[in-house]
């Protein structure tokens, strides 16, 4: 494989394409509401209308507005159809050449789409994720070529560092710094690991990226491997994402066939293989040391750090772990340069972030927005405000590890530091919206129940503390609590935050502490009864 081979594949792919493409969303959300059946019926309708010469039906990744799914888009003109049913196929095809069609249309010019800034999701909803040719035609694997042929590993790391990219798994550790630490660590072998164990309730960003554009993640991993000197990678995907796993495996097979993974990539001396490891349903395996233990075939539970994986990771070897979204940013940074990337977002949080907008919000779905956008803009402009016009009360970012941010703080810009300041975290990108019908104490109880069930049981504060906090919240929501219970709740929250072994326990009190802080009256109301 050489650069001109890539260009040839891209040209052939463009020549093969029909003038009009009917994009059918075949991401999990739309698949769950007959997405595949819709695709089949559309194909049949095109054939029946004799339009095969100029129209093709393409299963694409997530278009974004999952709440209005199943989605169908007519490209390149841009007509969007929402809530499509299989029986709408004929009408949609008939409307291609100017006919009228009663299927509900979406407005591609509404803020939900226009306020977005797609980098990670640049190909999502536009290409068939199961065909590497489409990825290559969209410019794919050029960045890998550039990195291997025109840059030294140190130059790659320098570009990532200068881009200001920070870890998208939630903690926001500077990616370039992590890469350079692993590059400098000594070891006869190094590994690259992609964390796709997305487990926050209400979060589906990584699933969507893997389902919509798996090659983008593979290319990012490959560039990382070149930069740090690894020859083996693992993608750890949770078992609850069978479709993402299937597409990823297909993508790996295709990349191998095209010589973009395996030995002597782009005829260089660089080798890189990637294998998938499927999680067995433990939330804690998203914690990096637990994830590594799980890949090694051991019980997935965290261990104290240091040593950090960068120094001693998989089988004691230096290991780079980044999240799916982090890897999905890499190719674009190499393609457009670090200055371009650094120009997006804020001083300390560069680039964009993908959020899964869910809960009591009008537009449920996936959005990718520049850092620094305010919560108000996300909720009211992109999200269209509360569901059925209800008043939005708060948003929860970062899932069970994050905090509740009340509507009065919606002018907070979305960046790592600002969110931490108001008692929440950026997290991996779950954004659950609550309106006035949500009881915040019940919400805190829900998240604590989740943490209690997902605690691995290794350290005492998290194992027993989460159970005790959950019991106190049950007592309070049952109207049997007292001020003493709230005091004990706070004391236990401090214990967990300060003494737990890993991030799960340390951040488990966040939903309780933030609701106690911003919605004190809801707790007081319950203990007064």
């Amino acid at each position: 494989m050489e650069l001109h081979d890539l260009q040839l594949i891209a040209r052939r792919e463009r020549e093969r394409r029909r003038r009009i493409r009917i994009h059918c969303c075949t991401s999990s959300g739309c698949l769950a509401s007959q997405g595949l059946e819709i695709q089949k019926r559309l194909e049949a309708a095109v054939a029946e209308a004799g339009l095969e010469g100029e129209v093709e039906v393409v299963g694409v990744g997530c278009i974004g507005s999952c709440g209005q799914g199943p989605m169908v888009e007519i490209a390149p003109e841009g007509t969007l159809y929402e809530y499509v049913r299989p029986e709408d196929a004929d009408a949609i095809v008939a409307a291609i050449n100017g006919g009228e069609c009663s299927v509900q249309r979406g407005d591609p010019l509404r803020p939900f789409f226009t306020r977005q800034f797609p980098i990670v999701r640049k190909n999502a909803g536009k290409i068939d994720p199961e065909r590497i040719e489409e990825y290559i035609a969209a410019g794919g694997y050029r960045s890998l070529y550039r990195a291997i042929n025109e840059m030294t590993p140190a130059e790659v790391i320098d570009e990532i560092t200068r881009s200001g990219l920070r870890g998208r798994g939630g903690a926001g550790y500077p990616t370039g710094l992590k890469w350079s630490t692993v590059a400098k660590s000594r070891g006869e072998r190094k590994y690259v690991v992609c964390n796709g164990d997305e487990g926050d309730p209400g979060a589906f960003m990584d699933r969507s990226v893997l389902e919509s554009d798996p090659h983008l993640v593979l290319e990012g991993m490959c560039i990382a491997a070149y930069a740090i000197g690894a020859d083996q990678g693992y993608i750890y995907v949770r078992g609850e994402y069978p479709f993402a796993i299937q597409r990823l495996q297909k993508a790996i097979n295709q990349a191998k066939k095209f010589g973009l993974l395996g030995s002597q990539i782009f005829d260089s001396t660089f080798d890189f293989r990637v294998d998938i490891r499927v999680g067995a349903g433990a939330f804690v395996c998203g914690e990096e040391t637990a994830l590594l233990a799980s890949i090694e075939g051991r019980r997935g539970q965290p261990r104290p750090r240091p040593p950090y994986p960068a120094e001693s990771g998989l089988w004691g070897k230096p290991t780079l772990i980044n999240n799916v979204e982090t890897f999905a940013n890499i190719a674009s940074i190499i393609e457009h340069g670090p200055d371009w990337y650094a120009s997006i977002g804020t001083e300390t949080s560069r680039g964009t972030k993908v959020f899964a907008l869910t809960g009591k919000i009008h537009n449920t779905g996936l959005i990718e927005v520049p850092m620094g956008i305010t919560l108000r803009e996300i909720v009211h402009q992109l999200g269209g405000g509360g569901h059925s016009g209800s008043e939005v009360k708060a948003v929860q970012t970062g899932g069970p590890s994050g905090g509740c941010i009340p509507a009065s703080l919606f002018d907070t810009p979305v960046d790592y530091e600002s969110l931490a300041q108001v008692g929440s975290i950026m997290g991996s990108g779950g954004m659950v919206v609550m309106d006035n019908s949500t009881n915040m104490v019940e919400l805190a109880k829900f998240y604590m129940e989740f943490c209690k069930d997902e605690s691995c049981g290794k350290c005492v504060p998290c194992r027993v503390g989460t159970v005790q906090i959950h019991r106190l919240l049950e007592k309070i929501t049952a109207g049997q609590g007292s001020q003493a219970d709230i005091d004990q709740l706070q004391e236990l929250c401090q214990l967990l935050r300060n003494t737990s072994l890993c991030g799960l326990g340390q951040s488990a009190p966040n939903p309780v502490m933030s609701t106690l802080k911003y919605f004190t009256e809801e707790y007081e109301h319950l203990i007064e009864r």
């Binding site: 104290p304 049981g457 350290c459 005492v460 027993v464 989460t466 300060n498």
Partner: protein
């Protein structure tokens, strides 16, 4: 091997490079409470009792190695309060009834409660129904008294080299198990060496036939075995 100088509770002490804070403190005569740590076994940092304050942050003394100029505080008011809370949580977790326990008087959990001044438990007793396994002809396992310190797991794996024990389940449902979670007596790997009994800090693992306060563990023998193997090379 280079020596390091650090401050423990305001006093300058020296330590060997690579040593943990726990070891350095012990050499300096400072006793840091532990439960999951056992000399001779690897450290896992699970019980969180040995947390100490290093430069404003809490670190487990058993897994944190010393560094030059480190400023360690082992017994701040906050740490003492956390330790007490942790012991209370442990007592509330399962059925720790000293009055009927084989290990009463020889129990590290009991001793720790006394040391840390825990005179009552403020948290709700979870009182789970835990099983007792007396399928092994010589030994017994009472899950009601297990604190999941994993010392048995590590003694079996690292000293006996068998790995009969492991932990299954998660959260408070986690349990020590033998082999693939069959009764201990049906374990195909257990050599009945009894090292897990030596290592157990509570009455969870006991010799059959022992009655109240009769079960004495001998955790120091684990370190002795490891050390004598090392000396003999």
């Amino acid at each position: 091997m280079a020596a390091k100088t650090l401050l423990i509770n305001g006093t300058m002490v020296s330590a060997r490079e690579g040593e943990t804070i726990l070891e350095a403190a012990r050499d300096a005569g400072v006793k840091i409470p532990t439960l999951c740590h056992l000399d001779g076994l690897s450290d896992v940092g699970a019980c969180r009792l040995c947390l100490v304050e290093v430069g404003g942050r809490l670190r487990p003394a058993c897994t944190t190695t010393v560094s030059e100029g480190m400023d360690v505080h082992t017994h701040t008011d906050a740490l003492k309060a956390y330790r007490r809370q942790i012991i209370e949580l442990l007592f509330a977790e399962r059925g720790h009834v000293c009055a009927v326990c084989v290990a009463s008087g020889h129990c590290e959990l009991q001793d720790m409660a006394v040391t840390l001044g825990m005179d009552h438990v403020r948290y709700a007793y979870l009182a789970p129904t835990c099983s007792v396994d007396i399928s092994h002809e010589r030994f017994g396992l009472d899950h009601n008294r297990c604190i999941l310190c994993s010392r048995c797991v590590r003694a079996c794996d690292e000293v006996e080299g068998v790995h009969t024990w492991d932990i299954a389940g998660r959260g408070t449902s986690a349990r020590v198990i033998t082999d693939m979670n069959q009764p201990w007596g049906e374990s195909e790997t257990c050599t009945a060496c009894g090292k897990c009994l030596l290592a157990c800090p509570t009455g969870a693992l006991f010799k059959r036939g022992a009655t109240v306060a009769e079960m004495e563990h001998a955790p120091a023998r684990i370190a002795m075995i490891v050390e004598s193997r090392r000396v003999r090379g």
